[in-house]
Amino acid sequence: MSAGRADADSAARAVTDRVRGIRVLEAGPRALLVELDSGEDAEAFHAELLRRRAAGELPAVREIVPGARTVLLDGVEDRTLAGRMPSWTVPPLSRGAGEAVEIPVVYDGPDLADVAEAWGVAVDEVPRIHARAEFRVAFCGFAPGFAYLTGLPAHLSVERRATPRTRVPAGALALAGPYTGVYPRTSPGGWQIIGRMPGPDALWDPGREPAALLGPGARVRFVPTGVTG
């Protein structure tokens, strides 16, 4: 194959294998909300922002806050950034890169049966299916250190509980929509609880660096343990 042909191939790949549809919305005079076509693209765009910031290629931005399909840039001094971002070449998300954080989990949650029914599987299949998936922190919110994890196939999305619980214990492993989350502390919540993480204090410790065990972009695996009680 000639060098010219190889270049054409890689150029063609560059056109197809990149994030498209980067829309920039203004969120007041100092913030930009970048909207992508999918959660996957938003994660890829967020990774690209962090790469550019680490390389010193991003103008000063106070906060970079990923969302489900967006990334918010707050405290943007250089307004020309808005015009430039849509033409960035953003490589697709490479899952499987980097070390995964392993979270021990006991699959004994009160909503296992409801989730099994929603998935159309036997109750004891739920832990197997869930633990097999490879997760990634798409974004954080709700409470410090609460991570919205993606990685379950789309057809395994579940509804929130019709009536939220007034008290979900710290460490509860729960599902809502396409997301998996682990409650860093006791709080109200409407997610379907399928298990619990022993020692949930590890999720959030403001005296530690980093304070959050699961920050945006982190890879995560759930490891079933025999711990009971």
Partner: protein, 286 residues
């Protein structure tokens, strides 16, 4: 004995606040910090503190604190207008006041405005969390809401207190909030957008450090449902299903699923901090 203050009367809601906890929104950490940031800075300047020093933020009913230690401490009560006393004797509002050791500095109930700021020479120095001493009432980070008997250490005084008289902005009789449209103005009907910038609203009693809630005409949407969670900025005007705009203040959640019709510029939020329930609110095109 190292200098400190002891809380004699905590008041309705008194917290420690500095410039806030920025840089952690991606982990779900609200920024917190003084709602009336210019008042916090001015109070610090008048007692010779660095701008980042932590102060007390009071709500409506003021508070009283005793100065402990062996030396007098200079303090300034500013923000909401109120009666100031030292051991019961009238003292200056909005200017440095000398508080001898053992004496009680009292900021009385607000006569205009809502939130008072008490700066002490040396600054309040409870343990910082993620680089800030601000209390965050949404997530509970930082020092807890003050209670009677609490003790807060003071740092070393920096410069000398300033004797100059400075103008403090008064509390707004009407709160005018310049609004930058978007990012989700497209979720609302044209009529709703017109209503927002022409109708009169009032500050709701359900307002707090998380948001200034309003009462007035509900805004109709062209789309139902919730947005996929997205990042929220300070000053965002979020519209929950009841259609009544909420202006996000410093303890706002970092992400949310209700559409943001517009964003109020930060400079206008100091007025929002001082607008008592019932104050008329007008959103105007920025």
């Amino acid at each position: 004995m190292s200098p400190a203050i002891e809380v004699v009367r905590a008041g309705a809601l008194t917290t420690v606040q500095d410039a806030g906890r920025t840089g952690w929104a991606h982990l779900g950490v609200p920024r917190a910090g003084a709602l009336d940031e210019p008042a916090r800075r001015l109070a610090n300047r008048l007692v010779g503190n660095a701008p980042e020093a932590a102060v007390l933020e009071t709500t409506l009913t003021g508070c009283a604190v005793r100065v402990t230690g062996t030396r007098p401490v200079y303090a300034v009560v500013g923000g909401a207008g109120c009666r100031v006393t030292v051991d019961g004797r009238p003292a200056a509002w909005g200017a440095p006041v000398r508080v001898p050791p053992g004496a009680v500095l009292e900021a009385g109930p607000a006569v205009h405005g809502l939130r008072g700021y008490l700066a002490f020479a040396g600054g309040l120095e409870p343990e910082p969390v993620l680089g800030s001493r601000s209390a965050d009432l949404l997530s509970g980070l930082g020092p807890p809401v003050l209670r009677d008997g609490d003790r807060l250490p003071l740092g070393r005084p920096g410069g000398a207190p300033r004797a100059d008289t400075v103008p403090w902005p008064g509390a707004p009789a009407e709160l005018v909030l310049p609004l930058h449209r978007g990012p989700r103005d497209g979720w609302f009907t044209e009529e709703a957008l017109r209503t927002l910038t022409t109708a009169g609203y009032r500050v709701s009693e359900r307002s707090n450090r998380i948001g200034l809630r309003t009462e007035g005409p509900a805004l109709r949407r062209v789309r139902d449902g919730e947005l996929p969670s997205e990042g929220m900025v300070l000053g965002a005007v979020q519209v929950p299903p009841d259609g009544l705009p909420v202006v996000f203040l410093n303890d706002h959640p970092t992400t949310g699923g209700y559409p943001v019709v517009g964003v109020v510029a930060e400079a206008a939020l100091a007025g929002a901090a001082q607008a008592a329930p019932g104050t008329p609110v007008r959103f105007v095109e920025a």
